[in-house]
């Protein structure tokens, strides 16, 4: 599945490029969003960004064209982690922070399943930070949807690992002291093979990113900016408001020069990214002031994540006035689960035919092996 956002991914040593859903059985016929809607009442707060993401996922899943029974959604704890209950697929609402580890077991055990993790900024980056980075490092074939509302919602409004420093919350009446994580920078540093960022309210962009993430074989991390109307309302206003979003969103499209801001006569944005030779990073300049050739052309498939990381640093760590949006990185490298299964398959093939009688016979020789003696 290829989209305008991604182009064709490069290969890093994986013979025979495979789609993320290649071994998952296809649906018998066309499906609709209704097929994926469970009979459970959705219980998020009115106006919650989670509704938009749920709708987008329910209407996207039919496009995947996979058998419903071969899709598994796993979540941790938090508002967004109720997600699996509302989808009529297989699913597990697990424990706080551990969804990536449970999904690792699922994805490794069964090649015929499309595995999705739904998590939040607290679940994935605080209590479950360890599991997230190791899933990314191993490159287990799953798609992680990280709903980032920059606040703890379910526990009623404490600051989260993505909240801006100084944030006044119930637990930080004098302002929080923690420096926040940038989830994209974190994922890139954790050797992720697919890293993207999108917005709950932009259905079209969200759906395109989901399609690319599902098509990617390996761990896909999709950060979704998601508004919490109760405890952190307006956190993403700058990138959502028609008045400001042109200057706030740095759109990333593979193969395109990166410009944003008000539109110039030639169709380019008034601001552009160029390399900053002093720091090795990137900086924002006026498009008119630089040669077109110096403007950074986005390369999501670069084997070297340095530029993707540099771009990710343009995300504001305080109130969000500027943020790159799109697919930062998509490279192919062997997945943990494919290789784990290959080892087992090879060992089974070498040992025998793998049927029950064969296994019983080999069990007898295993336990009766070594130095034995017989007493009559």
């Amino acid at each position: 599945m290829s989209t305008p956002l991604t182009g064709t991914p490069v290969q890093l040593g994986l013979p025979g490029l495979r789609s993320g859903t290649e071994q998952v059985p296809a649906a018998d016929g066309p499906q609709t969003g209704k097929d994926f809607t469970s009979d459970q009442e959705v219980r998020w707060c009115p106006g919650c960004g989670d509704y938009a993401v749920l709708k987008a996922v329910q209407s996207f899943l039919p496009d995947l064209g996979l058998r419903r029974e071969n899709i598994v959604f796993v979540s941790g704890i938090g508002c967004s982690s109720r997600f699996p209950y509302y989808l009529d697929t297989y699913g597990m609402h697990s424990i706080h922070g551990r969804a990536p580890s449970i999904a690792t077991g699922i994805a490794t055990a069964r090649e015929d399943l499309s595995v999705w993790v739904v998590t939040g900024d607290g679940d994935a980056l605080s209590i479950g930070g360890n599991h997230l980075i190791h899933a990314l490092r191993r490159n287990v074939n799953m798609t992680i949807l990280l709903f980032n509302n920059r606040i703890y919602g379910l526990t009623k409004g404490q600051y989260s690992p993505t909240s801006e420093t100084g944030k006044v919350t119930k637990s930080t009446p004098m302002g929080s002291l923690d420096h926040p994580f940038n989830p994209v920078s974190l994922a890139l540093g954790a050797e992720a093979s697919f890293v993207a960022r999108t917005i709950d309210s932009d259905r079209k962009h969200l759906t395109a990113v989901l399609a690319a993430a599902a098509a990617h074989r390996g761990t896909s991390l999709v950060e979704i900016y998601q508004n919490c109307p109760i405890f952190n309302d307006g956190a993403f206003d700058a990138i959502k408001s028609p008045d400001t979003k042109a200057d706030a969103i740095i759109p990333l499209v593979h193969g395109e020069p990166i410009t944003f801001g008000s539109t110039l006569e030639d169709g380019r944005g008034a601001k552009a990214l160029v390399r900053d030779t002093a720091t090795g990073g990137v900086q924002v300049v006026a498009t008119a002031d630089v040669d077109a050739a110096d403007i950074v052309v986005h390369d999501a498939h670069s084997p070297d994540p340095t530029m993707a990381f540099a771009i990710s640093r343009l995300t504001d760590s305080g109130y969000l006035n500027t943020s790159p949006i799109g697919i930062f990185r998509q490279v192919e490298r062997p997945t943990y689960d494919d290789q784990a299964r290959e080892q087992v398959t090879a060992a089974v093939a070498e040992a025998g035919n793998g049927d029950a009688a064969d296994r019983s016979a080999r069990l007898a020789s295993l336990i009766g092996g070594g130095d034995t003696w017989t007493i009559i």
Partner: protein, 641 residues
């Protein structure tokens, strides 16, 4: 190697302890001697004992590593209380182990390492080999290192490398003393060092030189013979608990027709289970070394959800970390085997030493009412059957099961009669394939609609069309399994999960009591690895002429259904444990029985002699008599125990 004209003396049992620095290869030496002994056909029990540090400071007391092997011409139950022979490779090894020897025991020391510096490190002000402090022992001072270096000089190794073969010299000498077959060790060394011919040849030469030294020197006048034991017919092999447990998990998977998925994190003394299972991918076994204990169990739960046999292996600290996830498996009612190879605690505790202090953690160590069945093996070989049983319960009842092994079982070994595969239980995963509620167009799949007999819920795995469902940690409505906050439903579900675990008692054997006279007033009840010492203690008391009954629990939760009746049948109940009375607490709570504890937490197995005295005292109280154990209360007595 030819027989000699030296005197040959018959013994019915011998306890040898090899002790040296942790870099001296004592575990390997002990293991080789054990394999020779197994090949010879003696019954045997071993007790490895080593520091947690890989290389503790050389020559110091904390750095001493030892391996004890007890072998006999009859069935034995323990590694023995007091060694008959101590091989001490340095002063620290002598000092650390001397207190365990009985007077008259044989001591063989490597004089080469008794230097002023090493003596100081071991805390000796005078060389014990010079004075009269060892006069009560049969002391053999031998320059093991010097003779080893001499024996291997033709291979051109450095002095350091040459001297490293001294453990094989010691093994050769002891192999001669006890008439052990040498072929197993020759074959082993040839294979082990096939890629380094110099080292291989040096080790073979040192081994041979040790044997020859025993045969020719006048220092060792007697060769001993311990005849093969008469054991029940069958094929035997020597096996450690961790190996048997890993085989049991492979067997559980085969018998259930399920691929095994081990999600785990390395931890002493459980890591060998991971190492072993990683070799058995050909049985469809997947091993996943996770980033931490929690991810290990998480992945296992995920694998179980999609139809594998999820297993996680750890020790006490790991169980603490996994507790929340085990609770999730209780709530989602998925099969899961949690192996806890217990070690000394609390916290990091004594990583390489044994203890049984995780019973209450296994029983209660989760939030909420979260009952988990508990199974415990009683000897190294029994770890196999216990693992198969844990698998049976987990799969049949859709529940996590705690399998409580311990450090002594894990590393200790014994001859194990290999079971016939056709005698193993067949385990039916009984996956759900059909909707189970309503009919026609209204038919639905209800994930919490239970089996009437077992109360187990259906196991519907992804890929099964029409049975799509969601499970999770939130309370489930009875039957349909949707989230429910209804007070009456929660009360019902809590009781139902408990009832499901209680019903497992219908599928397990009644506890058997060994009470030959049928007139004993005292019952000794144990669980886990104390089986050997308890059995040996009971034998001693019976030999001394007193009546005592013994029973041992395989299932700690639920208990066998006749346990309450059994306990009522005795005036006094003694519960020996390597903890401060955890089974006693459970028995007192459940059966209102005045269980008397016998408790030690020294990081070592209980001693049979001490147990015999504790049993004797209780028998005396129960029967109103004075109990005199005589020679049966002495650790050194040499008769059939």
């Amino acid at each position: 190697m030819t027989p000699t004209d030296k005197q040959v003396k018959q013994l019915d049992r011998v306890i040898i302890r090899f002790a040296g620095d942790s870099g001296d290869g004592m575990q390997l030496t002990g293991d080789r001697f054990t394999q020779e002994t197994a090949a010879f056909g003696n019954d045997l029990v071993t007790l490895p004992n080593f520091p947690a540090e890989i290389r503790a400071p050389q020559g110091t007391l904390p750095g001493v590593s030892s391996f004890q092997v007890h072998f006999a011409d009859h069935d034995i139950l323990t590694a023995g209380d007091a060694p008959d022979v101590l091989v001490a490779m340095n002063p620290a090894a002598l000092r650390a182990n001397l207190g365990d020897l009985h007077k008259g025991a044989t001591i063989i020391v490597d004089t080469h390492d008794f230097t002023a510096r090493n003596l100081t490190k071991a805390g000796y002000t005078d060389n014990p080999l010079d004075g009269d402090t060892l006069d009560e022992y049969a002391l053999h001072t031998v320059d093991l290192t010097g003779m080893t270096v001499e024996a291997v000089k033709e291979f051109g190794l450095s002095r350091k490398d040459a001297s490293r073969a001294k453990n094989m010299f010691a093994l050769g000498l002891l192999s001669w003393m006890y008439g052990r077959p040498t072929d197993p060790t020759t074959t082993f060394l040839t294979k082990r060092f096939a890629k380094v011919p110099d080292i291989r040849d040096a080790n073979l030469a040192a081994f041979q030189a040790g044997w020859n030294f025993g045969e020719t020197t006048e220092a060792f006048a007697v060769q001993y013979e311990v005849k093969p034991a008469v054991l029940p017919p069958g094929t035997y092999r020597n096996i450690t608990g961790n190996l048997a447990l890993a085989y049991g998990l492979v067997a559980g998977g085969v018998q259930a027709g399920l691929p095994v998925f081990l999600g785990t994190y390395p931890i002493t003394p459980a890591s060998d289970i991971l190492h072993e299972l990683s070799k058995h991918k050909s049985f469809g076994v997947t091993t996943f070394q996770a980033e931490d204990e929690i991810a290990g169990v998480g992945a296992a739960i995920g694998a179980s959800y999609v139809g594998h046999l999820g297993v996680t292996s750890t020790s006490g600290p790991g169980v603490a970390l996994k507790s929340e996830a085990i609770g999730l498996a209780v709530m989602t009612e998925l099969p899961l085997v949690v192996v806890d190879v217990q070690r000394g605690g609390p916290s990091t505790g004594l990583p390489t030493k044994t203890e049984q202090a995780d019973l209450l953690q296994a029983m209660f160590g989760r939030n909420g009412e979260a009952p988990v069945p508990i199974v415990a093996p009683q000897s190294p070989g029994d770890c196999f059957a216990a693992a198969v049983e844990a698998t049976r319960i987990a799969v049949t009842y859709r529940t996590p099961v705690l399998l409580l092994s311990d450090g002594y079982l894990a590393n200790g070994s014994e001859p194990w009669r290999v079971p016939a595969v056709e005698d193993l239980p067949v385990i039916d995963p009984d996956f759900a394939t059909e909707k189970n509620h309503g009919s026609g167009d209204d038919a639905e799949f209800w994930p919490y609609l239970r089996d009437d007999k077992t109360l187990a819920r259906p196991w519907a795995i992804p890929g099964t069309a029409g049975l799509e469902h969601r499970i999770g940690g939130l309370e489930k409505g009875d039957g349909h399994g949707n989230i429910s906050y209804d007070p009456a439903n929660h009360d019902f579900m809590v009781r139902t999960r408990q009832a499901k675990v209680d019903r497992i008692a219908d599928s397990i054997p009644l506890v058997e009591v060994d009470d030959p006279s049928g007139e004993a007033k005292v019952l000794i009840l144990g669980w886990g690895s104390t089986y050997g010492p308890i059995g040996a203690g009971v034998r001693r008391v019976r030999k001394a002429g007193y009546k005592v009954a013994q029973a041992h629990l395989r299932h700690l939760n639920p208990f066998p259904s006749n346990l309450g009746e059994v306990l009522k049948g005795y005036d006094k109940v003694l519960v020996p444990e390597m903890n401060l009375g955890q089974l006693s607490l459970l028995l007192r709570a459940k059966y209102l029985v005045d269980a008397v504890g016998y408790n030690h937490v020294r990081g070592l197995p209980l001693k049979a002699t001490e147990l015999a005295h504790a049993i004797g005292e209780l028998v005396g109280q129960a029967e109103g008599i004075d109990v005199e154990l005589g020679v049966w209360g002495e650790p050194t007595q040499k008769e059939h125990i």
